[in-house]
Amino acid sequence: MTRLERARRTARRGTILTAVALAGLAAVYVRALAFTPIERFQGPAQKIFYVHAPAAWAALLAFTITGVLSVLYLLLRDRRLDVVAASSAEVGVAFSVVMLTTGPIWGKPIWGTWWTWDARLTSTLFIFLLFTGYLVLRGALGDREVRATYSAVLGVLALVLVPFIHVTVYWFRTLHPEPIVAKPGAPSLPGVMLVTLLSSLAVFTLLYVGFIMQRYALGVVREAREEGDLDAGA
């Protein structure tokens, strides 16, 4: 099987996985909106939590994987690592858009403000802008080796920023609440809400995998086109 055939098979599998994940997202919507109780103090706005936190999880997972693969690319110089890293960065930016729009929409009724320049929110905006710049950089560089090296150097920063974002709620004064699941000890959430959150986390993780498979296949086809061997099917 040629590289392009493998890529097209990966794309098909990714599309199927994404379709399954989208059906799962619809199920999460039904569960969150109709079968999960309204929190007494925050009201219906608290249900934004079930899309905001999983989107944040998926975005930071994506950037972490970009960071790890960037380090591996700089060490091993395997072009597949660069393609997966770039794919993960793009998917991470998409999930960041969800995180950075649902967050302020939740913040306005609960905090009384759409945005505040505290450490958590600012560092989250920064990583979004960093990886948007990463994608712009890749689009601007024609030489494949230079593009892969420069973007890997930028991608490595995720390995510093993601842990920093996680600890900002402990190290700095912020309006953003501390984690209620990803923390030492048991999650501080009633069972029915926890099941909704975990379902949503699973669906967003599945979406991430489906998106990555498709985006990776797209990257491989584009690389083949750059090499001029698309028609040869190499």
Binding site: T15, L22, R40, G43, A45, V91, T101
Partner: protein, 36 residues
């Protein structure tokens, strides 16, 4: 205690999430088809 009436924010967040996720899925499909 009365539960706050802020359902509009919830609806907005869920609509935006669906639009972004579906939109990105469609752009991937479109780009893959165009590269074929």
């Amino acid at each position: 205690m009365q539960v706050p009436d802020n359902g509009g924010y919830m609806v907005a967040a869920y609509v935006i999430t669906a639009l972004v996720v579906l939109g990105y899925a469609l752009t991937l499909l479109y780009r893959l088809r165009r590269e074929r």
